[in-house]
Subunit: 506 residues, 2 copies
């Protein structure tokens, strides 16, 4: 645990008690996370009713631990004291959590949770039957409940902004939306150019089937090459890959497509990136905000860095293609250039976000953010979502879904909440910015390091510049500390321009 | 949840609130159980520090939920009301839990937990170095702490009896000790007779190695035959097999010995027995004492019933030997009689409890109970334990350990607590009594059912007579309800006499 500095010895009690409470809160959250991992990876299906009760009990107990009057008193006492920088960061983060929870009535929390569970069910039915009309009333009710929650947290603030800050604190919505505008203006014509004038890329992996067992071994081999420490992690399978854990135990999952080994490999490397962040957090700060990840956007920057700036480089394929061939000998004639191209193929006719390529992905995200801001703010009727969705798909990507199942009903997110998509694209943008800063900083050439399988310097740089800070800095400040400048689309756009112009011979 | 009967509508609030608290307590306990299962089966070793914190937080939160003044007030209010039988049982069980927790100072709970963790470490070192002197001071301190706890719970009662009631409530220590005396007097000469005059039993499984993967498949096949529902359970491996879960999700584990497939098979069937109990509990009573298992002794009766009264019968081997041969074709010439004999072999020269056979096992248990009662009550100096242990081993089994590692340091139990061994032998005794009652009750011949793989009637009988009652009856009463008489050694002794006299040609 963090030690109390001399300057604050007049309030050791409040600070120590706050830290103790923070550790308890972390333990309850981490226990829920283990239960969630188990539910998605290990639990027999019949276990659901009991597991739902366990998670609900832990969630309400965590809430009670947080909104306790004592916490408010400790925070107030500490805010009038002189604190070290680290102590001030701890107090700031716990104040933020406390303020966002204390004014939300328990009754509203309960109604929201219950309605989310029901909406999740309704969404599955609606998606299965391509019936947006079935989903719409539940969605409207969910919007109302979230507006009510936002208003309880900060009645003077725009509700969308309040919800947005759940997942991306300390990074102004304006900044993100300005960056999203730049991306849209740049990526739409780039994608059109690739479609019109880009050469055809070979697809050396197509036309074969790839058994799960060998794909799993290949994912394990990739994790070995990247340096995933199995003393602090493990790889399993899950329908929707995710990472779960903390600085002592950060586990990853992957899933398999029979016709394409790149799908699992990319998912594995992506989740490995998330795990590096957890494992890079300070162990001695487990339980305090200094030992916790900053935000969903920063987390995604770590997964995207490893997925795109390592796993999709030509250097990585020089290193790793022989291992792929060992696992699937029928690929023996595939060249590095072919594999590299296959890993970077753009296919704008795809309708589904989770299957999208590195460029079109962000238009899927931007479209969702534009739409959910509009309907949360009342500028778009829920009934009009399908029409607007399809129009934007046509405008940005040149394709129009035939069904809402492949359109606005494809993602589960809107059966839980809103303003949650931004982090995905912020992550990619930040990954490129971090990649550029790292390449500037490191003496060795990063591509040479990748080609040699020397990933330690990359991981060390991220630990030093991002992970070890935990929540010490607000997001904007962390980005400046790590890269020397505020969040900018510049590096991401440079990176995609250079890569795809070359790859598609534009 | 249980519905409130007409007769108690004047106190719906207290009863409903008590049930709600009971469900919360259950959820916290079950969450800890999932964390424990994960720790033993899935967790990477580096996860320990964070997991220890999570378990400790859940444990202290569960304690606070239980000893809350409200709980005491609800119980007192309900105890002066007219209640249905089921309500009265719920109140009785929660009163018992509350009373055993409320007077134990939080400080003592903390000191005990910390000391248990340290003693566990010291015990491992002592066992590794065959150095009882290293363990003795920690053991003495642990005894003092447990005496302090016993005295807090009931200052007027013998502390050993208080500790004993942790694991075997409502079954007088006198009853158990009388039964243990009968067993010792009967089993010591029976084992000696087998050694002196028993014929040699063939060992058809010896001399081969058995790979883990095929052994795992064989265990899965055994679970299929027995009717283990994978919607509510799963099989994994663990160094010390155990069952974990509730009526929705009851998981089993096994482990493998390369030279003997019976070891894993027996462990799997034993843990399956534990799982049948959890899965037989009422789902609509999850969270209340009516949906919880009765005691360690009753739990063990279920595992021993399936292990011994099913898995060690000739009928079972008639059914299952062909499946064993499918997995290990080199066994094709093994006969049912040979397999049955191998499953029932007695080897009194074994020093280790967890490797003991069906008869000598109980002398290992009785010896431990005699010794731990003596030192908790101050009749035996800790320093004298090794001597007394070895003398008793010689007296009961005719063997003397050369080292304390193979003697009084072999089990981990005394680094946690005392009076915990009785349940193992009570379980076997009760299993035989239940087996006899079941055979009396069922129209069909139980051996015929086993031979045909018709296990449903056996499971149904156990659900009807044991599982569905949960904690409705105190242990002694449950045994009478299920078998028509109090706990008795009679059936167990008849069963072993008949089986081993026949098997060894005595």
């Amino acid at each position: 645990m963090a030690t109390v500095d001399e300057s604050a010895t007049d309030t050791p009690d409040a600070y120590e008690q706050l830290l103790e409470r923070s550790e308890k809160l972390t333990n309850v959250r981490m226990a829920s996370m283990v239960l969630g991992w188990d539910q998605r990876v290990m639990m027999p299906e019949g276990g659901t009713p009991a597991r739902a009760g366990q998670l609900s009990t832990l969630s309400s107990m965590g809430h009670e631990l947080l909104v306790d009057d004592d916490v408010g008193a400790w925070l107030s006492a500490l805010e009038s004291q002189e604190l070290t920088d680290e102590q001030a960061a701890v107090v700031r983060e716990l104040r933020r959590k406390y303020d966002r929870a204390v004014d939300v009535p328990a009754d509203l929390v309960g109604r929201l949770t219950t309605h989310q569970t029901q909406t999740q069910q309704v969404w599955q039915e609606a998606k299965g039957n391509d019936d947006f009309g079935h989903f719409a009333p539940a969605l409207e009710e969910l919007i109302d409940l979230h507006r009510e929650r936002a208003s309880a947290i900060d009645p003077a603030e725009n509700p969308y902004r309040v919800l947005y800050e759940d997942s991306l604190p300390y990074l102004p919505l304006e900044t993100v939306e300005r960056i999203f505008d730049e991306l849209r203006e740049h990526l739409v014509p780039l994608i059109a150019e690739i479609q019109e004038n880009g050469r055809d890329l070979p697809s050396p992996f197509a036309g074969h089937t790839y058994d799960e067992e060998t794909q799993m071994a290949l994912s394990e081999a990739a994790l070995d090459v990247l340096g995933y420490d199995r003393k602090h992690g493990r790889l399993d399978t899950a329908p929707h890959p995710f990472m779960s854990g903390n600085q002592f135990d950060a586990r990853v999952t992957t899933r398999f497509r029979e016709d394409d080994p790149l799908d699992a490999l990319t998912a594995t490397i992506h989740e490995f990136g998330h795990a590096t962040y957890q494992l890079g957090l300070r162990k001695d700060e487990y339980g305090t905000p200094l030992g916790a990840s900053r935000s969903s956007g920063v987390h995604e920057s770590q997964s995207r860095f490893w997925e795109n700036h390592v796993g999709r480089t030509k250097a990585f394929w020089e290193l790793f293609l022989p291992t792929v061939k060992e696992h699937f000998p029928h690929l023996e004639d595939v060249t590095v250039d072919e594999a590299y191209a296959a890993a970077n193929r753009i296919y704008p006719d795809n309708l589904i976000r989770v299957e999208a390529d590195e460029l079109t992905y962000h238009l899927h995200i931007i479209l969702r953010c534009e739409i959910d801001r509009a309907f949360v703010e009342g500028d778009l009727e829920v009934a009009d979502i399908p029409q607007v969705w399809n129009d934007k798909m046509e405008e940005y990507l040149g394709v129009r879904p035939d069904t809402d199942t492949d359109g606005c009903l494809q993602d589960t997110h809107w059966s839980y909440g809103f303003a949650t998509f931004q982090g995905y694209t912020v992550g990619s943008v930040l990954a490129a910015q971090l990649d550029a800063a790292m390449r500037e900083d490191l003496d060795a050439d990063v591509d040479d390091l990748i080609r040699e399988g020397e990933f330690e310097p990359l991981r060390e740089w991220m630990i030093e510049n991002v992970h070890r800070h935990g929540q010490r800095y607000p997001s904007e400040e962390l980005i400046e500390v790590a890269t020397g400048e505020p969040l900018t689309a510049e590096y991401f756009l440079e990176y995609v321009d250079e890569k795809f112009t070359d790859l598609y011979g534009l």
